[in-house]
Each structure stands twice: as structure tokens, then as C-alpha cells.
């Protein structure tokens, strides 16, 4: 009798565990389908990171807008974080006033293209005054002008399979955004800071501006954008160079 009970108990426990694992697997698959799993979901910090990312993605599903400010609130000091690359080809392009610089957009797009700075400046421009906080804790408010990334993405025709936009700058780093952030109304490619051409140390000639994430996601010195459906085979597969240094891919905080 007791053997029977314990066998039944074992069976129930086994089935429950199997159902649990299957359920968890199915939940993960569904979550991944809806873009709720960050590329750095593994490791000991994965559970917290995934919970944060999934929760914020669901909360922000309507394309919520970051706060915008008045001109009078613009900060007098715009600190530099990560100065300009001291090497070629960046220094050569900088010396030439970025006349030879081109932005390449490739990957899962219908029309892979390159754009000169003049061509980008002719695109419909947008200006916004937003707050940017560094992961370190300091922050500033600045006015940025540029072209919405969504405009460029639509120009090259992003595939329906696409899930991420990967950014390749001249400083040897790389990062990526999911498409909800890439197509967000306040995400753009900025070439102007506080009414003047973007200074080299602030990311000239073109930098990404992501209003709903920490500063390090606003990649500077942009050279190339690659649209992809998976980050698995880009770099070490964690969506950005940042996790290698201990920083999370998603920085909505």
C-alpha cells in the first residue's frame, strides 16, 4: 500500500515536473515570439533582466513617449562620455569634414543602401529636447536634431522577419535595439546638438538617440546599421558589447 502510494506520488510529482518544464518552455517560446526575452537572458542575472525587459515592453507597448523639455531647461554642461576614436578611418573622415563618410544600412532590408551626411540632412528632420541619464548617475537635458530612425528604416524597407537593428560605430563597440525602440517616434539619428553640428566627442557625424534608455544605448560615431532577425551570431550573441563588460543589453532601467 505504502509502496503504491509512494509510486503514485512519484508519478504525480514526475508528471507535474514534466508539465512545469513543458509549460515553462512553452511560455518562453511565446514570450520570445512577442519579443519579451532579452538577448542576455542567460546567466545568474537572467531572471531579473528578463522580468524587467518583458514588463517594460508590455507597459510601453503603446509607444509611450519620454518627457520633453523647454529650451530654458537645456543643461549648460553636456559631459563627454567616451571621447572620439583617435584612429583611422575616423580621424581621416573627421579631417575631411565627413565628406567621404557614408552610412551603410544592410541586412534584412529590401534595398541595402548607403547615405552621405548631406543626404541624411536632406531627410525630414526632427528636433527634440530630452533628458539623458548616464548609467553612472549623471544627467543632462539637450536639444537634438536628426532624422527619425523609422524614416530611414522605411526607406530601405525592413523585412517582416526582422527583430533587431544592430549599430556599428567607429569606436570598436557595437550595440543593438529591438524594433519597437528602433521604430519609436523619439529614436533618431542625430547630427546636431544644441543647434550646432554634433561635436566629434559627442559622436560626430551621426549618433543614435534613444530617449527611453540610458545614455550608453545612444551609439556614437555611427558607421553601419544591420537589420537582423536574430542576435545569436552577432558578436558573442548578447545583443551588444556591453554585457561583456557587465552592463545589460536593455537599459530602460
Amino acid at each position: 500500500m505504502s509502496a503504491h502510494v509512494s509510486r503514485r506520488k512519484l508519478l504525480t510529482t514526475g508528471l507535474t515536473a514534466a508539465a512545469g518544464v513543458t509549460g515553462l518552455g512553452a511560455a518562453a517560446k511565446i514570450a520570445n515570439h512577442f519579443g519579451l526575452i532579452p538577448p542576455d537572458w542567460g546567466g545568474i542575472w537572467g531572471p531579473g533582466e528578463t522580468l524587467t525587459y518583458a514588463t517594460q515592453r508590455l507597459l510601453m507597448a503603446s509607444g509611450s513617449l519620454a518627457r520633453e523639455f523647454n529650451r530654458s531647461e537645456i543643461s549648460k554642461v553636456v559631459p563627454v562620455s567616451g571621447p572620439q576614436p583617435k584612429t583611422d578611418p575616423y580621424q581621416r573622415l573627421l579631417a575631411g569634414g565627413f565628406a567621404d563618410w557614408r552610412l551603410t544600412v544592410d541586412g534584412l532590408v529590401a534595398r541595402p543602401s548607403t547615405f552621405s551626411l548631406a543626404e541624411i540632412k536632406r531627410m525630414p528632420a526632427k528636433t527634440q529636447i530630452t533628458h539623458q541619464a548616464c548609467e553612472e548617475g549623471w544627467s543632462f537635458i539637450a536639444e537634438w536634431t536628426g532624422v527619425p530612425l523609422a524614416y530611414v528604416m522605411n526607406l530601405v524597407g525592413v523585412s517582416e522577419k526582422a527583430k533587431f537593428a544592430v549599430f556599428w560605430p567607429f569606436d570598436g563597440s557595437w550595440d543593438s535595439l529591438d524594433l519597437p525602440d528602433a521604430f519609436h517616434a523619439q529614436t533618431f539619428l542625430a547630427y546636431n546638438l544644441n543647434g550646432a553640428d554634433l561635436p566629434a566627442d559627442h559622436g560626430a557625424p551621426l549618433r543614435v538617440r534613444v530617449a527611453r534608455q540610458l545614455g550608453y544605448k545612444s551609439v556614437k560615431f555611427l558607421s553601419r546599421i544591420t537589420v537582423t532577425d536574430s542576435l545569436k551570431h552577432v558578436g558573442d550573441g548578447k545583443g551588444s558589447i556591453q554585457p561583456a563588460f557587465g552592463y545589460s543589453w536593455y537599459a530602460g532601467i
Partner: protein, 242 residues
């Protein structure tokens, strides 16, 4: 779920009972989960602080702008703030979820009203003065206090549960550009991003101070006995004299 019979402080009469259930299972489990998450939050919070141990008031601030507090700590870049942030949010999830469980069950079971809201007479000037004086002289708490909460305990626990923890969550939310894009009132009501960061830091200090005093009081009252009570839920009544 184990139901708890809490005894009003000062009404202890039957001390001949060998054992009394002092803490419900839920209070004990959430207490220890909260201990783990709080330690992790303090360690990781300190790691994040080291990236920029300087505080400002208002929306913005940084090197080259006036600060309201410069801590005598080194600026450590590219290190502890990275893993610190991963750890901080993982621990924050644990802390907030167990905190919610504790707060909701505490409200529903009337734990707060019956056991933490100051009992009749406890708020009188004489009672408060006596209590504060006893604590200041490090007087060992009376044995019957193992069965209920003293008035200073009640007031400080209520402040921690209903003021400091909500303030930490509120100012934490205020520092998230993603959250404030959906709920801008978190940062507006905090008085700006940098003010929220500063308040977060000061509230964290008060919580650490609370924990230090809490642990000191546990030691004073009898570390082994009180810790055992928070693990098993029971106070061994053998040594209690009527």
C-alpha cells in the same frame, strides 16, 4: 497557511504555555526573503554609487555642475555599476514581490492593525518616554516583549513598511526613462531625476540605519532566542516568568 494568534502587548497573562506561535509562516518566509534581497540591494546599490558618488538636486547634474553632496569615495568607472545594476534589479524584483505579498496579506489578515498599529495607551507621553529611555540605556527588553511589538518597534516598522519602502520604489521608478515614459508622475512628483536619485540614496541610508538598530535590538533581547523565533515561529516560553 498557518493562522497566527497574536497577543496584544501588555495583555500577556498566560505565560505558563510552553510555546506560542509568534510569527506566521508568511511573516517568517517574507522576512528572510526580504533579508536576502535587502543585503543584495545594499551591496549592489553601493556598487552603482561608486560610479558617481556625488548628488544633485533637480532634473540634471554632473561633473562641472553644482552638487549638494560629495561623498569621500573614489569614482570607479567600468566596474561595480555594471554587475551592480544587474544584481540590483534582480534583488529589487524579489524585494518588491515579497513586499507586496507581505503588505497585502498583512492588510487582509489585519496584522498591521492588530499588531503594528500602536495599542491603546502605548502612544501616551509617559509610555513613550519610558520606552525611549529604556532603549537609550540599552535596557534588555522585558521577557513578555517576545510575544508582541513594543511601541517604538511598531512605529519604526510602520514607517519602514508604509513610508521608506514605498519611497524607495517610487524614487527608483522615477530614475527609469522607460517607466517614466509611461508614468511621468513618478519623476515629476519626485522633483526631477537627480532629486529622485538623491532621495533614493538618503532613504536607503535610513533603511540601513533601521536594519542596524533592528539587529542591535535583536542582540540585546537575545539573538539566538529571537532569531529562532523568526525561523520556527515559536517563542520557547520556558524562561518567561509571570
Amino acid at each position: 497557511m498557518a493562522t497566527t494568534t497574536y497577543l496584544e502587548a501588555g495583555t500577556i497573562r498566560d505565560t505558563s504555555r510552553p510555546e506560542t506561535l509568534r510569527f506566521s509562516l508568511l511573516v517568517r518566509v517574507t522576512h528572510w526573503l526580504n533579508t536576502i534581497s535587502f543585503v543584495a540591494l545594499v551591496i549592489s546599490g553601493f556598487g552603482i554609487l561608486l560610479a558617481h558618488p556625488r548628488f544633485y538636486w533637480g532634473e540634471t547634474g554632473g561633473l562641472g555642475t553644482p552638487s549638494i553632496l560629495d561623498l569621500p569615495l573614489p569614482f570607479m568607472l567600468g566596474g561595480p555599476s555594471g554587475w551592480g545594476r544587474y544584481m540590483h534589479f534582480q534583488a529589487a524584483w524579489l524585494c518588491v514581490l515579497t513586499g507586496l505579498l507581505y503588505a497585502i496579506s498583512g492588510l487582509m489578515s489585519q496584522h498591521f492593525r492588530r499588531n503594528l498599529w500602536p495599542a491603546k495607551g502605548q502612544l501616551s507621553w509617559n509610555s513613550l518616554r519610558g520606552e525611549i529611555w529604556d532603549r537609550l540605556r540599552f535596557k534588555k527588553p522585558a521577557a513578555e516583549e517576545a510575544y508582541g511589538y513594543s511601541v517604538l518597534q511598531r512605529l519604526s516598522y510602520l514607517a519602514v513598511v508604509f513610508f521608506l519602502f514605498p519611497l524607495m520604489i517610487w524614487t527608483g521608478m522615477a530614475m527609469s526613462p522607460a517607466i517614466t515614459s509611461v508614468f511621468p508622475f513618478f519623476v515629476r512628483s519626485s522633483g526631477g531625476y537627480e532629486t529622485a536619485r538623491t532621495l533614493h540614496f538618503f532613504a536607503a541610508n535610513l533603511l540601513v540605519l533601521f536594519v542596524l538598530v533592528h539587529v542591535a535590538m535583536v542582540c540585546l533581547a537575545g539573538f539566538v532566542q529571537r532569531t529562532r523565533a523568526m525561523i520556527t515561529g515559536r517563542v520557547s516560553g520556558g524562561r518567561v516568568q509571570p
